[in-house]
Symmetry: C2
Subunit: 303 residues, 2 copies
DNA sequence: GAATCAATTTGTCCAGGACAAAAGGTGGCG
DNA sequence: CGCCACCTTTTGTCCTGGACAAATTGATTC
């Protein structure tokens, strides 16, 4: 494939950025950006740099900013805004160096060694600490490396696969089996599975019974499954890329249909910044707080 | 959520059926179907039965049929056509009854017991037979139960999760480590991961070295990753829901960019019916043939 | 049977208008 | 000072109807 193909059709841009065709045309009409070239058939051809800027715009808008304020800014300014919003380095230097060396293996495509190294760290730290002080910071580092273009799709997927294998393995090995019963899933449009597995790992370690439905579960089906399965808690995960508004809307709607005796928990980077505060929904901003929330639930519900 | 909400906006229908808004409007203009009602603001409202028929149409078209021939048919006729195309029961009665009892557990939402039962069958059969004579027929049965509406989203996801855990676990336990080196993934728009894991399980059992990149890998990145990682084989998986044409196009394009010394394998239900025959691409119609293909490769390439 | 060419089918794009829903701002009131 | 009701602006999605290229089919010839 032509990696350096320099222009994209409107359909390609829609796939690539997640901005609907209608919106792309409307922005062009209203704001004068983007301003694609035209091919012989008068169809839009977006240059790569405009697509890059559109990607940045989309992410900022998903975080709650408004197009009108952003669209005049340069790509550099947008990138700076995005960095301000997102990643505030890793505090602990030990964790940072541990993660860096793992990421180095990833960059070299050493899948086997990466796997072995992860396994080793897991054994040393134990599951909960592995999740909170290795996987969580790694996700963050990889996220920002991805934004900077230092990591490509294949590497990111490879990472996800390896971590997924390790976590699923570790979760299976844990017992679980007592209360509460937790149903884990994500809303439609959320494809990222690692947050879910991290939450499951934390909770299973504390003896909770977890059932994961994977990603992309329609609201109505979450509700039905939670009631049918006799669950105490429904836990949803939202990655950094998930539009905050969509998350809030979904949680609000689900809280309304879900019976009051089933708790609703939500976690993930999408909600970490602007902690929304929705009546009857527990927002867990840091994965390490999951154990605390569980303890709290047990104190309340098992006298 | 209102499960029995009887009408859908055009955006909802697009999400639900995968048919673009433009196409929905064009069909209405050209063929007179669908013929949605309008709300107070003159926006289309599609009744549920029309959406059901659209779903059937989409699947048949993805199999290579033409809209003009199908669109006049009733939903019943379409359903019959689809059944003719797809599922031809399970031959082996032992396998069928084994699968039925597992599916029964699924229907009852007994996640734990399902897991234990699967684990037990795996231990009894061994990984390869487990994949070929338990998982493969189960997928098929669940697929048709899903078409008949006997299984809902949550149950289908629960099944996928449980099988995924079992397979990932089993794959990790196998050694692998010798040639060939196989890169496994799916094309964009293909979300189903079980086919990939089944293939990985078969190949790892034979001692091949497998690296999975999970689902949804853009063509250009598959090419780049295969070359960078020194792989001998790229293996792609296509579920029954994947449009055959899109699969063929993708395979053709990938074959062109991929160096000749890297083999390209493709498998899955999407290709099982109309075995396409693409120069330089091995189509593996039955998961059990994976071992044979591997042997063949070894005979050719390690003298 | 294979290959070439014309006719038909089909999906995607375009322009520009309309409008509802969301967000932001303002002022009064407790 | 916080909160609520109301108004203005912003923003995205939908609409119509026209156009055309790409894919597919069918006819004709070799």
């Amino acid at each position: 494939m032509q990696k350096q193909q320099s222009t994209f059709s409107i359909a390609a841009v829609e796939r690539d950025t997640g901005l609907p065709k209608d919106t792309l045309r409307m922005w062009e009409r209203r704001y004068g950006f983007p301003q694609p070239e035209r091919d012989s058939n008068d169809e839009r051809l977006y240059p790569a740099d405009q697509v890059d800027k559109l990607r940045l715009l989309k992410r900022l808008i998903d975080q709650g900013m408004r197009p009108g304020k952003l669209i005049m800014a340069s790509a550099d300014e947008l990138a700076r805004l995005l960095e301000n919003h997102q990643p505030k380095g890793i505090e602990c230097p030990a964790a940072a160096s541990r993660c860096s060396s793992l990421i180095e293996l990833l960059r070299l495509h050493r899948a086997d060694e990466l796997r072995r190294a992860l396994q080793q760290v897991l054994l040393k730290q134990g599951l909960q600490e592995f999740v909170t002080s290795t996987i969580a910071p790694m996700n963050q580092m990889i996220g920002s490396a991805w934004l900077r273009g230092e990591i490509d799709v294949a590497e990111e997927h490879l990472y996800t696969e390896q971590v997924q294998n390790i976590l699923r393995n570790a979760i299976s090995a844990q017992g679980g089996g007592s209360r509460p019963r937790v149903l884990l899933t994500t809303l439609p449009d959320e494809l990222h599975v690692l947050g879910l597995l991290m939450a499951e790992a934390m909770l299973v370690s504390e003896g909770a019974t977890c059932v994961s439905l994977g990603t992309q579960m329609p609201l109505a089906d979450i509700d039905a499954a939670a009631q049918a399965g006799g669950f105490d808690i429904v836990a949803l995960s939202f990655s950094a890329a998930f539009p905050a508004r969509q998350a809030i809307d979904g949680l609000t709607a689900l809280r309304q249909t879900l019976p009051a005796n089933i708790s609703l928990w939500a976690g993930g980077r999408a909600l970490a910044e602007r902690k929304p505060g929705i009546a009857g929904v527990s927002i867990i901003t840091d994965i390490a707080d999951a154990t605390g929330a569980l303890e709290e639930w047990r104190n309340k519900n098992l006298q």
